[in-house]
């Protein structure tokens, strides 16, 4: 679908997604009923029962949801409203759900909720709507009606252990190429591959080698200047992203987390440092590990924000020139609501930029970029809907009046660029890495200084 210049104001509920359609074609009423009931019976427990039994249908969660706000408070987009149309429908009909209803359900669960958990903070009970939406996606996965593009991503994960069909040689070649290029900055710079016993394993998401190799260059320069004993794996497990956790393919999601942690233990590192991505952090820190039975990460993982914060406060990286233009900061859900890193992020901004304007609401209460939870990965058919459904975010950003928007997450980055473009806002989106790379003193840290 091509982007149009006229702005749609309503969500198109008639979008055709090939993956969904093909899946629906193969389904019989018996199969639908069987799968839904199996998942509900075998894969849920006390939590779901408590949520369902306790929800007072007060709709206090509604105002939390940017979909609801972006759609002029249409009740279909309220969190509890979405549960009503999806999970409740399945429970009410005891699994006897028609294909048309299923089509509706996939759309809602996959493209009209970012599983951002913001609503959990507005529900007086703290009911986890995102959990219920993910449960619906799990059912869709088992019915094989997951939207095409995100399913393709999961297929890539399963086959290559990375999100973007990056072949093993392409990955290494890219690292070596970035290493060579980055010798522009430091003639003896290295991206040490498979360095057994390094302190840190640096992991990224597959779109970096695929489309944004320059980010690997930048982070190599940062690691090198900070004199970090680091490494990157040349083998699968290097990609920390995980779309399977968003399609409900928990088996693949767990396998991805397993590969990631096994790469770290194979290299005997103390810590995993992750690039600026939020959903990947959620996967490694909070989701994939759980399916594997690792209650908490078996190897410590820290997000780039924590890492950069350490580099700057410890003096390993010195800032030469602060960034002049006024910036604002988008708090990615998965590391603010998901890890409480918003204060560190602000301290970083303070160390890096001269002028900062808060976006409100912020910190744990920030709105999702609209791309999260796998929404952007549902691909082109859903793009316009995603723009329409995210008007609130665009307004929120516009209100800051800033020229530069920092978004320390890949998903957010892409999602925000999309809405800025769609809503004709002239603003540049940057990673912290970009700012540090430009502002840093490019000399190598000598310990004891």
């Amino acid at each position: 679908m091509q982007e149009t210049s006229t702005k749609d104001s309503e969500t198109d509920t008639k979008v055709i997604d090939e993956g969904v359609e093909k899946g629906l074609k193969g389904l019989t009423p018996e199969k639908i009923e069987l799968v839904i009931n199996q998942v509900l019976k075998n894969e849920t427990g006390a939590r779901l029962k408590l949520y369902i039994d306790t929800c007072m249908r007060c709709s206090l969660c509604a105002d939390a949801c940017s979909f609801f706000l972006s759609n002029d408070r249409a009740p279909e987009f309220s969190p509890a409203g979405k549960v009503k149309q999806t999970l409740h429908e399945m429970i009410r009909l005891k699994g006897k759900v028609s294909k048309d209803t299923l089509r509706n359900i996939v759309r809602i669960a996959h493209t009209e909720c970012n599983v951002c958990k913001r609503c959990s903070m507005y529900c007086p009970f703290g009911i986890d709507i995102a959990y219920m939406i993910l449960l619906v996606r799990r059912i869709c996965h088992k019915l094989e009606i997951t939207p095409l593009y995100i399913q393709d991503t999961v297929n890539s994960h399963a086959a290559t252990m990375n999100q973007m069909w990056v072949k093993e040689d392409e990955w290494i070649d890219t690292l070596q190429w970035q290493e060579e290029d980055a010798r522009e900055e430091f003639e003896n710079l290295r991206i040490p591959l498979d360095k057994d016993g390094a302190d840190i394993m640096y992991s990224v998401i597959a779109p970096e080698p695929k489309f944004q190799a320059g980010l690997i260059y930048q982070s190599a320069v940062i690691h090198h200047a900070a004199d970090i004993n680091w490494t990157m794996p040349s083998f699968p497990g290097w990609d920390n992203s995980n779309m399977a956790m968003f399609t409900g393919d928990y088996e693949i999601s767990g396998r991805i987390a397993k590969a990631h942690y096994e790469a770290a233990t194979k290299l005997h590192v103390k810590k995993i440092v992750m690039g600026e991505c939020g959903h990947a952090f959620r996967s490694v820190f909070d989701v994939g590990n759980r399916w594997m039975g690792w209650a908490m990460p078996p190897v410590d993982v820290i997000h780039a924000i924590e890492f950069y914060h350490y580099l700057l406060t410890s003096g390993r990286i010195k800032i030469k020139d602060k960034f002049k233009e006024t910036v604002t900061l988008h708090d990615p859900c998965n590391i603010s609501r998901g890890r409480g890193l918003h204060d560190k992020a602000r301290e970083l901004v303070d160390m890096l930029c001269e002028s900062f304007i808060e976006m409100t609401p912020n910190k744990e209460h920030n709105y999702c970029c609209g791309a999260g939870g796998g929404a952007i990965n549902c691909g082109p058919p859903w793009k316009i809907n995603r723009m329409v459904n995210n008007r609130e975010k665009a307004d929120q950003i516009k209100r800051t009046g800033a020229k530069v928007l920092i978004a320390p997450c890949h998903n957010c980055h892409s999602g925000l660029e999309d809405i800025l473009h769609y809503y004709d806002q002239d603003m540049e989106v940057k990673f912290f890495g970009d700012l540090i790379f430009n502002a840093m003193d490019k000399t190598i840290y000598k310990g004891g200084e």
């Binding site: 399963a158 252990m161 908490m296």
Partner: protein
């Protein structure tokens, strides 16, 4: 083979100055040490986009535009992946293979030789001891090289266009053994194991989006599961594998349930003779070992990263992390190391000595039978035990000097 007896077990200390190299070259990369401790090597930068391999201070004749993945083989040969004029090769002790590739990676060495993954004109396969597979494929992953020099990998047989989920579901992956297709096509294939002679392979498959099973050569098990991990051959040529049913993990043998108990997780299958061990989780977030379905009593809360038997099968060792620290359990007994980094230990032939190295607060230490040697070093390489189990070969970097030390065990313990 490792003819340990022929190594020098007498000279108590030998030194090589690594410091000097740092001045001789633009930079040196990680130091690699041969198992006998006599040779140390590193990739070194000798000029702009020029790399050499430095062994005990001497450079190989040939220099390279790129070099990586330097390692010693069990027979003390030094291997690297090297490239000149955009062509890649394997270089062993300074001699590059005749066969050149567009890319080469995933270097594997064992007593029978050297193998790697290769790409030629966008097609993928493996090369073993200089000979590439006859057929190449669309893609390759999960390579294995066994002790007989057989190679196997998961290969993508058919090309696939972007987002063709239907074709993917129908199966485009297969197992290739020495370049010959050895399985049916499946949606996904992972974790290939050879049997002891290399005549058979077992592997984990996904039949469609939700059904997993175990494949053996061209056939697959009748049972389907919610998930499955790497299958392993027993000494009797049976296949065992952890499989998931009803949200729990079971151990299966030849398509039948083997262990009575189920677990929350089963990882790291280890087999020796009739004994089977697995790292298990029996309550959420708690890990232990089950040997023949009987649980050890220790529990750790992070991970069991390695589980393996000694050659004789008498000693079972688990490398694990509890709370913040790494530690080792030998036959259900914990050493109590509190290591920041810890490597897989060696076991002496008489099974009385178990040794490894660890890092603690930035220093590396030798560990023997759970005792941490008091001297800390800049780096320790894999320690070795003499065949009469009386001495330890310690290889360390200490203030820029490589030292090969022979330590009599009676002084250590």
């Amino acid at each position: 083979m490792r003819d340990i007896e022929k190594w020098d077990w007498e000279t108590s200390e030998k030194e090589i100055l690594v410091n000097k190299w740092i001045n001789d070259y633009n930079w040196i990369e990680e130091i690699k040490v041969s198992q006998d401790g006599e040779n140390i090597a590193s990739i070194v930068s000798t000029g702009e986009a020029e790399f050499g391999i430095c062994v005990n201070g001497e450079l190989w004749d040939e220099s390279f535009e790129k070099a990586w993945s330097l390692q010693f083989t069990p027979s003390q040969k030094l291997v690297s992946l090297v490239s000149n004029d955009e062509e890649w090769a394997v270089c062993i002790d300074g001699n590059s293979w005749e066969s050149k590739f567009d890319y080469i990676w995933d270097l594997k060495v064992n007593s029978k030789g050297v193998g790697a993954s290769v790409q030629v004109d966008g097609k993928y396969g493996m090369v073993v001891n200089g000979i590439a597979w006859g057929d190449l494929f669309e893609n390759i992953s999960g390579t294995v090289l066994n002790e007989n020099g057989d190679s196997a990998a998961v290969v993508q047989v058919d090309p696939i266009s972007q987002a063709d989920i239907e074709r993917y579901n129908n199966g485009i992956y297969s197992v290739s053994v020495n370049g010959i297709l050895a399985s049916e096509k499946h949606t996904n294939i992972w974790d290939i194991s050879f049997n002891s002679t290399g005549s058979e392979v077992a592997y984990s498959i996904r039949k469609n989006r939700t059904d997993y099973s175990i494949g053996r050569n061209k056939s697959i098990w009748d049972n389907t599961f919610q998930c499955s991990w790497k299958p392993v051959f027993t000494n009797n040529n049976e296949v065992i594998a952890p499989v998931r049913k009803g949200g729990k993990w079971y151990l299966y043998k030849d398509d039948k349930q083997l262990w009575k108990n189920n677990y929350l997780q089963l990882l790291n299958l280890a087999v020796s003779g009739d004994n089977i061990s697995v790292a298990i989780s029996d309550s959420y977030g708690k890990w232990s070992v089950s040997e023949n379905d009987i649980k050890w009593d220790f529990r750790c809360d992070k991970i069991i990263s390695d589980l393996f038997y000694s050659d004789s099968g008498k000693t079972l060792i688990a490398l694990f992390k509890n709370n913040k620290y790494w530690d080792i359990a030998v036959n259900n007994k914990i050493w109590g190391l509190k290591a920041d980094k810890l490597w897989k230990p060696h076991i002496s032939d008489n099974e009385e000595i178990i040794t490894t190295r660890m890092e603690k607060d930035g220093k590396y230490y030798l560990v023997v039978n759970g005792n941490v040697h008091n001297e800390g070093f800049e780096m320790i390489f894999e320690p070795e035990i003499s065949s009469d189990s009386s001495k330890i070969l310690l290889k360390v970097l200490d203030m820029g000097v490589y030292k090969r030390k022979i330590l009599p065990l009676d002084q250590l313990l």
